[in-house]
C-alpha cells in the first residue's frame, strides 16, 4: 500500500467576515490523494472547490482538522516552502498569474524564489517550456500570447519547480475549445509521466479522463469514485446541478431503446466500440 501524497483529515474551514460573523465553507472533509492519481473535483458554483484547492498547498489553513502533504502539516509555517514546492497550483485567469515581462523570466520566477542556483535554471526552464510545447515562445512578452498559451506558460512556471502534484483550479474555463484541448493534452502527458494531478473543473468530458472523482456540495464530500461509478448516479448529480458527459447521455438514451446497449459508457470512443460490438454481433456491417 503506497502512502498518500496528500491527506485531508476532517478539514473544516470558515471565512471570517468583518463583523465577527463567519461562513462555514468546508465541513469535515476527508480524502486521500495518492501519487500518480488524476483527481477531478466537481461541485456546482459556491460549493467550496476553490477553497478546498487552496488548502492543498497551504494558502488557506484549516479552521479544524489537518492536511498533510507527504507528512508535512500545512499549518506549520516553516514547512510552507517545502509544501509549495511539492504542490504547485495553476489558477483560472490566464492573465493574472504571469508576473514577468517575458515568458522565460516568468518561468524563472518560481525558481528564483526557491533559490535554485543560476547554473541549473536554464536547464529547468528548457525542460518546463518543452513539456508544455512553448519552447519557441521563450522570449515573447505575455501579451502577445493567446489565453491557452498563457495557461501553458503558467503550467511551465510550476513544472520548472519540479512539484509532485499539480493543482488546477478551473484552469481551462477561460479558454476556447482548442486552448482547452492543448491544456488537457499537456495534463494527460504529465500524468502519464507520473505527475499527480488535481483538477477542479466544470467540464464533464475532462472529468471522464480522471482516475478518481470527488464530488462536493455545500462544503461536504458527497461522493468519491471512478468517473464511471460517479456518472451512474445520474439523479443525484442532476440534483446537485451537475451534468454527465455527452457520451454518457447518449449511451443512456440508446440504452432506453435497446437494453443490450450499455448505459455506463463515458468516453466517445467507447460509444464507437459499443456500436461496432453490437453490429458485429447482429451481423450488420458498419464501415
Amino acid at each position: 500500500m503506497t502512502k498518500p501524497l496528500i491527506q485531508v483529515n476532517n478539514v473544516s474551514f470558515e471565512y471570517s467576515l468583518n463583523n465577527n460573523r463567519s461562513i462555514q465553507v468546508l465541513n469535515e472533509v476527508s480524502f486521500d490523494i495518492f501519487p500518480g492519481e488524476y483527481v477531478a473535483i466537481i461541485g456546482h458554483n459556491g460549493s467550496g472547490k476553490s477553497t478546498l484547492s487552496k488548502h492543498l498547498n497551504g494558502i488557506l489553513k484549516p479552521s479544524s482538522g489537518d492536511i498533510f502533504v507527504s507528512d508535512h502539516n500545512t499549518k506549520e509555517q516553516k514547512l510552507q516552502r517545502e509544501i509549495r514546492k511539492k504542490v504547485g497550483m495553476v489558477f483560472q485567469h490566464p492573465d493574472n498569474q504571469i508576473i514577468a515581462t517575458i515568458v522565460e523570466d516568468d518561468v524563472a520566477f518560481g525558481l528564483e524564489n526557491i533559490e535554485v542556483p543560476a547554473s541549473e535554471m536554464k536547464e529547468r526552464i528548457d525542460f518546463a517550456l518543452e513539456a508544455v510545447g512553448m519552447s519557441d515562445f521563450r522570449k515573447r512578452p505575455p501579451h502577445h500570447l493567446s489565453g491557452g498559451q498563457k495557461q501553458r506558460v503558467a503550467i511551465a512556471g510550476i513544472l520548472a519547480m519540479k512539484p509532485d502534484c499539480l493543482v488546477l483550479d478551473e484552469a481551462t474555463s477561460m479558454l476556447d475549445t482548442y486552448g482547452r484541448r492543448d491544456i488537457l493534452d499537456v495534463i494527460r502527458k504529465l500524468n502519464n509521466e507520473g505527475m499527480t494531478i488535481v483538477s477542479v473543473t466544470h467540464h464533464m468530458s475532462e472529468v471522464a479522463e480522471a482516475s478518481k472523482v470527488i464530488v462536493i456540495e455545500k462544503g461536504q464530500v458527497v461522493m468519491v469514485g471512478t468517473p464511471r461509478e460517479i456518472f451512474q448516479h445520474y439523479e443525484l448529480l442532476h440534483r446537485l446541478q451537475l451534468d454527465v458527459p455527452v457520451a454518457n447521455q447518449l449511451a443512456r438514451l440508446v440504452h432506453e431503446y435497446d437494453h443490450e446497449f450499455q448505459a455506463d459508457l463515458i468516453h466517445n470512443d467507447e460509444i464507437v466500440q459499443e456500436v461496432m460490438r453490437l453490429s458485429a454481433k447482429r451481423g450488420v456491417y458498419v464501415g
Partner: protein, 281 residues
C-alpha cells in the same frame, strides 16, 4: 477618427524594443544604463554651443551604429516640441536676470534679450533633443526586461543599507507587464460604454475638463478590475513560493565583456570632454 480613439494598445510605446542585433543592442544592459546616466548628466551640464552640437551629433551617431532609423528619435521629439517652445519663450522673457551677460540685443521694458539669454534658450532646446535621442536609443535597443534586470543589479549594493532592491525591480516589472493588459481592459470598457451611448474623444482637445470628465466612467471600473487582478496575482506569487524580503537566486546573470568596458570608458571620456574642454562658443 472615433475608432482610432479606442486603439489604445497600438499607441503604447513603452518598451518599444526594436531588435536589430547591433553592437549597442548586445551591450550589457548595466553598462548601457550607466553610460546613459553619465552622458545625460554631462549633456545637462554642458552649456556651450559647440559642446551641445557635438553631443547632438554623437546622439545621431548612436542611432546609426544601433541601426535604428532616426525617425524613431524624431517621433519622440515631436510631442515635446510645444513644451520646448513654451520653455524657450519663458526663458527668453524671464531668465534675463540670470543670463544678463554678453551683448544686449533688446532692452524694452521688462524684456531684456542678450546673447547669453539666447544661448540659454538654444542650448536648452538642444539638450532636450539630445536627451530624448539618447533615451530613445536606450529603450529601443534594450528590452524592458533587460532594463529592469540592469536596474536591479546596479542598485544591488543598496541592499546593504536595507533598500528593498528586488521588490523595487519587481514592482517595475509588474507595472510594465500590466500596461498592455490594462490598456486592453480600458479599450473593452470604452467600447462597452460607447455602445451604450457614451462619447469619447468627440470633444475638442482644448476642452480639457470635458475630456477629463469623459474618462471617469472608465477609471472607476478600471480600479475595481485592477484590485481583483492584484488579489489573483498575490495568490499566484505565493503559490510559487514568493516571500517578500527572503533570499532569492537570480536568473539573468550578465557578464560584462571587454567591449562593454570599452564602450563605458569611451562614454566617460566623451562626458569629460564635454565638460572640461574649453569650447570657444
Amino acid at each position: 477618427m472615433a475608432s482610432f480613439e479606442f486603439e489604445l494598445t497600438r499607441n503604447i510605446t513603452i518598451g518599444q524594443y526594436l531588435p536589430t542585433g547591433s553592437l549597442i543592442h548586445r551591450l550589457d544592459p548595466r553598462i548601457k544604463l550607466l553610460a546613459f546616466t553619465i552622458l545625460v548628466i554631462a549633456m545637462a551640464i554642458c552649456h556651450t554651443y559647440v559642446g551641445n552640437f557635438i553631443a547632438l551629433a554623437f546622439a545621431c551617431y548612436l542611432f546609426y551604429i544601433s541601426r535604428i532609423p532616426i525617425s524613431y528619435g524624431l517621433s519622440g521629439v515631436k510631442p515635446a516640441i510645444p513644451f520646448i517652445l513654451v520653455l524657450a519663450v519663458l526663458q527668453l522673457l524671464f531668465y534675463s536676470e540670470i543670463a544678463s551677460g554678453g551683448t544686449v540685443f533688446v532692452d524694452y521694458g521688462f524684456i531684456l534679450i542678450t546673447s547669453d539669454s539666447i544661448r540659454l534658450v538654444i542650448v536648452s532646446a538642444l539638450r532636450f533633443i539630445e536627451i530624448i535621442f539618447l533615451s530613445s536609443v536606450l529603450t529601443l535597443s534594450t528590452s524592458t526586461t533587460q532594463i529592469t534586470h540592469g536596474i536591479e543589479s546596479l542598485l544591488d549594493p543598496l541592499k546593504h543599507v536595507k533598500f528593498p532592491v528586488h521588490e523595487f525591480a519587481l514592482i517595475i516589472t509588474i507595472a510594465i507587464r500590466f500596461v498592455p493588459t490594462f490598456a486592453m481592459e480600458m479599450e473593452k470598457m470604452m467600447k462597452a460604454q460607447a455602445s451604450r451611448g457614451a462619447e469619447f474623444g468627440t470633444g475638442a482637445w482644448w476642452r480639457i475638463i470635458q475630456r477629463t470628465k469623459d474618462v471617469f466612467p472608465i477609471i472607476i471600473p478600471l480600479f475595481n478590475v485592477a484590485m481583483a487582478r492584484a488579489e489573483d496575482l498575490v495568490l499566484a506569487m505565493e503559490a510559487r513560493c514568493y516571500t517578500p524580503g527572503s533570499e532569492r537566486s537570480i536568473y539573468a546573470k550578465y557578464k560584462a565583456k571587454s567591449t562593454d568596458y570599452a564602450a563605458l570608458l569611451f562614454c566617460i571620456l566623451f562626458a569629460v570632454l564635454l565638460l572640461a574642454f574649453p569650447f570657444p562658443y
